[in-house]
Symmetry: C2
């Protein structure tokens, strides 16, 4: 698979820190620790989200999907042209597909997901020329911290079972 172009700026590191805070908040409410936020073309935060799959008992409760939905509501449009999504884990096919649909400009993610990731691991929907929209990806930003939160979470879960 093609590995995307990895240039992270200071702003990216800062927004990823906020996404990490959201991941911790996600864990605190009993969800898998993943956090996501969407920033517009002026660097203003449009939406933030934790995972909500358990709390909302819905398959569409991934942090990216909730962040996308909230950003659409804020913009009063299903198109998020010019926006950037920050997320602590590489998006799955559902979320990567939603990002294509939203016409987002860029995605910055933390840890790779070798088992389910669709922006570099299993596939890369961001640069599939057959789709009607492509976008830039910056990957591996604060990947160790992003990955550690998840590993620790699943380790704790296995212990309490």
């Amino acid at each position: 698979m093609d590995r995307p172009n990895n240039i992270a700026h200071q702003q990216d590191l800062d927004f990823m820190s906020q996404a990490l805070d959201l991941a911790l908040r996600s864990e605190a409410i009993g969800e898998v620790p993943i956090g996501a936020l969407i920033v517009d073309e002026n660097g203003q935060i449009l939406s933030m989200a934790t995972n909500l799959r358990e709390k909302n008992t819905t398959v569409i409760g991934h942090a990216e999907i909730i962040a996308l939905h909230r950003a659409c509501k804020k913009r009063k449009s299903w198109r998020l042209t010019g926006c950037t999504l920050y997320v602590t884990l590489e998006p799955c096919f559902m979320c990567a597909g939603a990002l294509v649909q939203s016409r987002i400009a860029r995605v910055v993610f933390g840890a790779y997901d070798p088992k389910g990731g669709a922006l570099g691991s299993l596939s890369n929907l961001s640069c599939d020329a057959r789709l009607n929209h492509n976008f830039t990806v910056t990957s591996g930003v604060r990947s160790e911290e992003c990955g550690k939160i998840l590993k620790d979470f699943f380790k704790k879960k296995r212990k309490t079972k």
Copy 2:
């Protein structure tokens, strides 16, 4: 791409007729004419949906996503084990990815979508052995009727522009 196993039973034709009715209702409210419904293991309808992308101004307004969300709410679970989704058009990557996440048992769709379909056209997520769930697909059920509604809709749209 692998084309899935195509055996449609009378029940499939009947549920696809209902999905076609939902597609027409979708058009009547100003949406792209696509309809979807989810049936449980006993043949009971759990949820029905039209497209709602324009009306709800959200990128997650595809009929399949709304049908999945409503079925989760009905079941009080994000898992839809044993269920079947009927939809008039081949699902895109977002919707096909959501179907994988939901652990659905089977998908029956009408028309193929050569530009964006992720259950046989551009890819086939239903039988990707790397993913943590696979499901059965029956495709091309009432495909001419399902495709005609869409073709007529876009023809009308071009004329009124």
